[in-house]
Symmetry: C2
Subunit: 212 residues, 2 copies
C-alpha cells in the first residue's frame, strides 16, 4: 500500500509545535522557520499548511480554548455562584505544558497592532464568548443584572491576567476578592437560585480548586 500523507495529522503536528514555541517564547516566535526547525519539516511543507506567521498564530488561538473554559463553566458539581468564582482559579493554564502567564488573546491583540487581523478578530470573539458565559452563569445565579456582572467579571479576569504579566506575580487572588464582592452585591440574598452560604460580602471567598 502506498504511504499516504495524513494532512490532518500534519496540521496537528504543526499546531503542537506552535504550541510549544509560543509557550516558551510568546506569539512573536510563531514563525514558519521556527516551526520547521521544531518539527523537522521543511519550511515549504509547513507553509503548505499555514502560509505564514499570521495563520500560525490564528491556528494557535483557535486551538487554545475552543470550548471557552469548559473546566469552569461546564462543571455540574458547583453552584452557579461557585462557577463564577472558579473562573478566577484556573486562569489561563488549561492544557498548556508550561504555565502561560498571559492570556494569549490579549497577547495577540497587543502584539499584532491590527484590530482587523484574523487573530485579533478571533481574540475579540473569544473575549466576548467568555463574557457571555459569565453572563449566562450570573443569570443562573440569580443576578439582578447578569450582563453587567458578566462584563465586570470578564474585565477583572483580564486585569488579573495583564497585571500578573507586568508584575510577574499572581494577581488572580486580588481579582477573585473583588469578584466575590461584586457577586454578593449583584445577587439578592433572597434569590431562590442562590444557595445560602456563610461567606461575607467583602472578604476573599474561599474558592473551590478548579478542575483539570
Amino acid at each position: 500500500m502506498p504511504r499516504i500523507v495524513d494532512h490532518e495529522e500534519r496540521r496537528a503536528e504543526v499546531a503542537a509545535a506552535v504550541w510549544r514555541i509560543v509557550s516558551r517564547d510568546g506569539l512573536e516566535a510563531a514563525t514558519v522557520r521556527r516551526v520547521a526547525a521544531e518539527t523537522g519539516m521543511s519550511t515549504s511543507v509547513v507553509s503548505h499548511y499555514f502560509a505564514g506567521k499570521d495563520e500560525l498564530v490564528t491556528e494557535y488561538l483557535h486551538r487554545f480554548d475552543p470550548d471557552v473554559m469548559p473546566g469552569v463553566f461546564d462543571r455540574t458539581d458547583l453552584t452557579p455562584r461557585e462557577r463564577l468564582l472558579a473562573a478566577f482559579e484556573v486562569p489561563m493554564t488549561q492544557g498548556t505544558e508550561d504555565v502561560t502567564p498571559l492570556c494569549p488573546y490579549i497577547a495577540a491583540a497587543v502584539e499584532l497592532h491590527d484590530p482587523q487581523h484574523p487573530a485579533s478578530q478571533y481574540a475579540r470573539d473569544y473575549k466576548t464568548a467568555i463574557a457571555a458565559r459569565l453572563t449566562e452563569t450570573a443569570r443562573e445565579a440569580g443576578a439582578t443584572n447578569p450582563a453587567r456582572l458578566g462584563e465586570q467579571l470578564a474585565l477583572l479576569i483580564d486585569g488579573a491576567s495583564a497585571r500578573t504579566q507586568v508584575l510577574n506575580s499572581d494577581s488572580f487572588p486580588i481579582a477573585a476578592a473583588v469578584a466575590a464582592a461584586l457577586i454578593d452585591n449583584a445577587i439578592p440574598t433572597s434569590s431562590p437560585r442562590q444557595p445560602a452560604d456563610e461567606r461575607g460580602t467583602t472578604a476573599p471567598a474561599p474558592v473551590p480548586v478548579g478542575g483539570e
Copy 2:
C-alpha cells in the same frame, strides 16, 4: 564659534521619534533603523545614544509618564475620592499625539517576554508606583484598608486597558463603575475625611473630566 553638538537635544530628538513610531506601530517598531529613518540621522548616530531596540523601548517608558499620572493625583481641586475615580477618566493618553490604546507598560511586559529586561523591570516599578499613589489617595479618602483598595483599583485600570485593546472598544466606563462600588464599600460613610455626596453605591459616578 564652532558648532557644538547638543547631546541632550539629540537624545530628546531621538526620544520624540521613538514616541511617534510607537504611537503608530507599537513598541515592536522601536528599532534603530526606524528611528534613523524618522530623524534623518544615521543609524550609527542613533546607536551612539541608544545601543539598540531594548534601550529605545526603555527610554520610551521612562519618558511616558515619569511623574505617575500627575494630571490625576496632583489635582487639588478634587476630593481624594474624586481623584480615585478620575484615574479611570484619563486612561493612558496623556501627552501622546495619538491615542495609545494600551498602557505601554503592559505592552512592554507582553512583547518582551523577559521579566528581567530593564524595560520589564521599569514597567513593574511603574505599576507598583500607580498602586502606591492609589493607596495614598485611598488613605486620604478614609478607606479602611487603603493598600487593598489601591491594589484593586490598579487591577481594574489594567483590566480596562487590556480589554480596551482586545475588544477594540472603550472598557474604562465598566471599570469606573466597579471602582465606584469598591470605593463606596471601602470608605465608611461617617469618615470625617470623605465629604458627603449624593452618589449611590453602584451607579457609575459622574467623574470630572481629567485635565492636565
